[in-house]
Symmetry: C2
Subunit: 256 residues, 2 copies
């Protein structure tokens, strides 16, 4: 059956999109079939895979509002085993439009029910907020992956995110689980990175992946070439880290 | 009279909070009286000024819902000339709560009307989204300052932000103006920073401040000490850049 992982953190710029794209690519490279669902109105995941604006006629917005089935929104990415449901700016309106709709929290879950069996994994790239878009992702997901930038301010919102995951588990999705916390943009020249990483491991223990994603300029260059860093420069430290992360994630999935 | 500047960008992690805190501190150092209004449920601006959770009994949430006047929510920061309306996690609910309320877009504007004359400047730190919290800030503001990280993905959402500012100008706030775009986290070792900066200057011309904020680890350390970097380490490159930015902003304000 299909496992759905929401990549979420309301703190901005922590590596949600980068983790979704590169983890999905690394998982696809191990012969899993993976779907990326771009649920961020910025459409950064779609851009990072080279999708022009003209190729986004049918998006996650249409899926969420029930105008198309999931299958009608899925596109090929040119990367074997990796498919995409893109996003564009019409998703900005969804937060307000969904509030007065019936089943406003479960629309994505219902739409994904149509994907069961077509993919091994669905990774949802969430926007930096806890509004109805991210809530839909948490209700639809089997587990949540939380990218955490190794910076002081990034620690602040984590406890609220964990509370939100628990509230969704109690209210909508009893099977929702924290798959893990991935430390991102770790800079070994900077004491602050070490301190934050140590704090997070102390507090969350085994929930924190052993793999740490280093700050690596090749990672931030890859989106401008429309490719995951695993394809843009597969030998760089960022690409290698995401390959390690994928094997850790897949091992956890097997053990669950 | 009081000038209100919204510091906004729906892209996450681009330096909205860091710019709000440090620009406000630099402006206060020139004998202006400045109020920071934390409108982000993460409460990063409040934390960056050292405010513990227990000191946030009255927040921007209460102001927005009309439960208290602005004056009742203002706190001292210990920094001469700088005051704060804090935020905490009860603001997460505001986006959904506001949708069905009357005057949902103008509540902050009405609340700030009570501040006119008490401060020279009000800087609003916005969350990384374009939902009703940020819309309230844009409706209440005289002008918008847009921090823009020198990264490829950060370019993507700018055109939509500019469209949103124009829509708010036409629909709610005819005086709303783009005060300027400030390039942040510029890394001189990294070509990508140069390319992004060149693209932005080409497209936005004089709207881009001459001052560029460099990536500087002291800037990201300061919040863990509860101080603006201007106080934590006033000689570092980040602090100096914000001092230059303040003089550029104040010059533009005089020329407007
Ligand atoms: N390991 C890394 N090394 C260097 N740069 C990185 C790394 N990971 C991400 N980045 C860059 O940092 C910026 C933020 O990352 P990204 O956009 O993936 O975060 P996000 O959490 O998805 O942001 P948002 O909250 O806006 O959705 C991007 O410009 C990205 O290219
Ligand atoms: N010039 C700089 N040099 C180094 N680090 C910086 C700089 N500016 C900001 N940072 C760090 O980068 C991270 C993101 O900055 P900040 O939190 O101010 O962005 P933001 O746009 O307010 O984020 P959000 O979208 O979550 O509100 C923080 O950890 C901050 O300390
Ligand atoms: Mg993203
Ligand atoms: Mg912020």
């Amino acid at each position: 059956s299909t496992r759905v992982i929401a990549v979420a953190n309301q703190k901005g710029g922590v590596g949600k999109t980068t983790t979704t794209i590169n983890l999905a690519t690394a998982m696809a490279a191990t012969k899993k079939s993976v779907l990326i669902l771009d649920l961020d109105p910025q459409g950064n995941a779609s851009t990072s895979l080279g999708l022009e604006a003209a190729q986004r006629a049918v998006t996650s917005y249409h899926v969420l509002l029930g105008e198309v089935s999931l299958g009608e929104a899925v596109q090929e990415t040119g990367i074997p085993g990796l498919a995409l449901v893109p996003a564009d700016s019409n998703l900005y309106g969804a937060d307000i439009e969904l509030v007065d709709m019936a089943r406003r929290e479960t629309r994505l879950k219902e739409a994904l029910a149509g994907a069961v069996g077509a993919f091994d994994y669905v990774l949802i790239d969430c926007p930096p907020s806890l509004t109805l878009l991210t809530l839909n992702a948490l209700v639809a997901a089997d587990s949540v992956m939380v990218p955490l930038q190794c910076e002081f301010l990034a620690l602040e919102g984590i406890s609220h995110l964990i509370k939100t995951i628990e509230a969704v588990r109690k209210g909508f999705n009893p099977g929702l689980d924290l798959q893990g916390i991935v430390l991102t943009m770790f800079d070994k020249r900077n004491n602050l990175s070490d301190q934050v990483a140590a704090d997070v491991r102390e507090f969350f223990g085994d929930k924190v992946y052993k793999t740490v994603i280093p700050r690596n300029v090749r990672v931030s260059e890859a989106p401008s070439h429309g490719k995951p860093v695993l394809i843009y420069d597969h030998k760089c430290s960022g690409a290698e880290a995401y390959i390690h992360l994928a094997s850790e994630v897949l091992k956890r999935e097997r053990d669950m």
